[in-house]
């Protein structure tokens, strides 16, 4: 056997190490061990609240960076210009009336009534019961109609062959992709990578329905908006300060 380590020993050492790491790092890491066994239900609706007044430009850049690191996009070799995927982008906007300038991150808004899902011929674009809008890449035929339909231009098409994808985020040529709200982490009880990276009041993630959640309570207190509220899509991502 090439491996000198006996398996039992190996398990023993690794468990002891990880246990001690877990203990040191306390509560946060412990929650990561919960794995979802049952289908998600509509008892929850995941959402995000972005406070543009608290968010600096560097914060937004770091959100983009965290997303790239977590999901593994941005390192495409051949795609140029607008061919490069953009799961999340930084926008600088100026209010036409007041002239106020704000910066904000824009990604899939996880609509309750997503136009991308309506137009998808194969049901690849889908909204999970808990409100997360995803592409089921196993059904995606790459027709790009969802990209035509999205009011936020939040989706990208993979223009080239990829290798060395992240294990939790398979991506491949010829299919459409977008922000997943880090569904692989959320299902295991964690927060999306960008939220973790900013790590402040500026971006709150949680269950919109749960009256005890921070996002629910904050939304009750402060004034927030949805982008393109006129389309009545009831987005899961909300903004305040713009």
């Amino acid at each position: 056997m090439h491996n000198k380590l006996n398996r039992r020993d190996f398990i023993k050492t690794t468990s002891i190490t990880s246990l001690s790491v877990a203990t040191i790092a306390s509560g946060i890491t412990l929650t990561t061990f919960a794995q979802r066994k049952n289908p998600v239900t509509n008892a929850k609706r995941w959402g995000m609240l972005v406070d543009t007044n608290k968010l600096t430009e560097t914060d937004i850049d770091s959100m983009v960076d965290a997303c790239q690191k977590e999901q593994g996009w941005g390192g495409e070799k051949y795609s140029i210009g607008n061919q490069k995927p953009t799961w999340i982008r930084k926008l600088k906007v100026k209010d036409k009336a007041t002239g106020k300038i704000s910066n904000l991150p824009l990604m899939c808004q996880h609509c309750e009534h997503p136009p991308c899902v309506d137009v998808c011929p194969t049901n690849a674009s889908m909204r999970r019961e808990d409100g997360i809008v995803l592409v089921d890449k196993h059904l995606c035929i790459g027709c790009r109609y969802c990209m035509m339909a999205c009011p936020y231009d939040a989706r990208s098409f993979v223009h080239e062959n990829l290798t060395e994808q992240k294990e939790h985020m398979p991506r491949g040529k010829g299919t459409v992709e977008s922000c997943t709200l880090c569904v692989h982490k959320v299902d295991n009880g964690e927060q999306p990578a960008c939220v973790v990276r900013v790590n402040s009041e500026a971006v709150i993630f949680g269950d919109l329905y749960d009256p005890n959640s921070k996002i629910n309570q904050t939304l009750k207190k402060i004034q927030s908006t949805q982008i393109r509220a006129d389309l009545n899509l009831n987005t899961g991502v909300r903004y305040s300060g713009i």
Binding site: H2, R36, R128, Q165, K166, P170
Partner: protein, 130 residues
């Protein structure tokens, strides 16, 4: 109980074609389990015959319903069934010609597209086996 002859044949092959077997073998992790006398899949013939159904079912459960258990997860197949090149200490891709997810498929000329997206080597520091 026809897996004994298979294992026997495997071992036989392993001694005669030492280098070639390294590639055609079961995968490092799986081989370790096998060597320890344990079994992972309840029945070998079942996994051999039914793994497409298992995988596709799991695929839908995970990507559409968020079920993230390890059973029949593709990540885990890769984790157990990937082989390392002893010299470079790098994993071979599981779907590379001669590797686990490829040998049988080549024989029956099935081609799978899964690894256009899914990682075909275990990621660093992965420990998914169960």
């Amino acid at each position: 109980m026809y897996h004994w002859p298979i294992i026997f044949l495997n071992l036989l092959l392993a001694t005669t074609l030492a280098y070639a077997t390294e590639q055609t073998s079961l995968g490092d992790e799986a081989r370790m389990i096998q060597a320890s006398g344990k079994k992972h899949h309840g029945s070998e013939s079942l996994i051999r015959k039914m793994h497409p159904e298992f995988l596709l079912h799991k695929r839908d459960r995970t990507s559409r319903e968020g079920v993230r258990t390890k059973k029949h997860s593709l990540k885990n197949c890769v984790y157990c069934h990937a082989n390392k090149d002893k010299k470079t200490n790098q994993y071979y891709s599981v779907n590379k010609s001669g590797q686990f997810c490829s040998v049988c498929h080549q024989k029956v000329s099935v081609s799978i597209d899964c690894f256009a997206c899914h990682r075909n080597t275990p990621s660093k520091g992965a420990n998914n086996a169960q």
